[in-house]
């Protein structure tokens, strides 16, 4: 998956490359800090528009579709086995995503409470050489006030 962004203007980013994720699962005490994700990790936001136009004749952004992928090599996370156990046994309820463009000081933190979103997660494990490579996919719809923050990122009026 290619990433598209301008050097230092996050409003032009269509897909945000990720360089770190915090994952919290329900009823688990673990907060998994994944700081060395593989380079195809990304989060993408797509605005969802109202069916009817507003009084100005334009549709309104009423929610935001999220599509994210976190790829982690076993070597890059010491609690890899605990993470797999949590993925299998518990539900993801907090995701904090750290984005930073390459060669840029722009850093953005995106926090998703799964209670505020409708999300479906899935995961796959492949092998890169001798080491497992975990891919977590997150697809869903953000429906709370944070979508207004997100629509600001798109450079649109909320």
């Amino acid at each position: 998956m290619a990433t598209y962004y301008f050097y230092d203007d996050v409003t032009k980013w269509k897909i945000y490359p990720i360089n770190g994720v915090d994952l919290t699962f329900t009823t688990s005490d673990n907060i998994h800090r994944l700081r060395y994700l593989e380079e195809n990790s990304y989060i993408k936001f797509t605005p969802i528009l109202s069916e009817i136009n507003d009084d100005n004749g334009c549709p309104r952004v009423v929610a935001t579709e999220i599509d994210a992928q976190f790829i982690l090599l076993q070597n890059n996370y010491s609690d890899f086995d605990a993470l797999i156990t949590d993925i299998i046994n518990y539900q993801l309820n907090w995701v904090i995503i750290f984005c930073a463009a390459l060669n840029s000081y722009v850093v953005m933190t995106i926090s998703i409470n799964i209670n505020d979103a409708v999300c479906k997660t899935s995961h796959t494990i492949e092998f890169k050489g001798d080491y497992p490579l975990l891919t977590i996919s997150l697809k869903g719809i953000m429906k709370n006030d944070k979508m207004i923050l997100m629509s600001n990122i798109f450079g649109e009026e909320p």
């Binding site: 109202s50 069916e51 719809i141």
Partner: protein, 128 residues
């Protein structure tokens, strides 16, 4: 921003609910007429205006109805027995009739159950 209240009868008294605010998607002021139209035996056309009245079309979308309190209020509003709205924080208000009946007219954006959008039509009780 539009404020809504609904009324329900307890005995003979119409009791109004507390107010709920919505950031509406659209709120259009329209005009509705009712006419008797036809032609006489000799072929002359006639067109009698019986009355005209104001009609308002209100649409509230998923950016408001995702909130449980606002969605619950909307359901109670839909099945109430009286309706009124205000766009100046109840300095003035308009008591209206609700035109829709039957299933609550939710549209589901992207076919998603959490992304509800509703259009309601308010019609003035007294004609012009």
């Amino acid at each position: 921003m539009i404020d809504l209240k609904y009324g329900t009868y307890i005995g003979d008294t119409l009791n109004w609910s507390s107010s709920q605010s919505y950031n509406e998607l659209e709120f259009k002021d329209l005009t509705s007429t009712e006419r008797v139209q036809g032609s006489t035996l000799s072929g002359n056309r006639f067109n009698h205006l019986l009355h005209s009245r104001n009609v308002w079309r209100l649409t509230i979308s998923a950016d408001e109805l995702y909130q449980a309190t606002k969605e619950t209020f909307m359901r109670a509003f839909y099945k109430a027995q009286g309706w009124k709205w205000s766009d100046d924080n109840w300095v003035t208000e308009k008591v209206v009739d609700l035109l829709e009946s039957g299933d609550i007219p939710y549209k589901f954006i992207n076919n998603h159950i959490d992304l509800k959008e509703i259009t309601l039509t308010f019609i003035e009780v007294e004609p012009d």
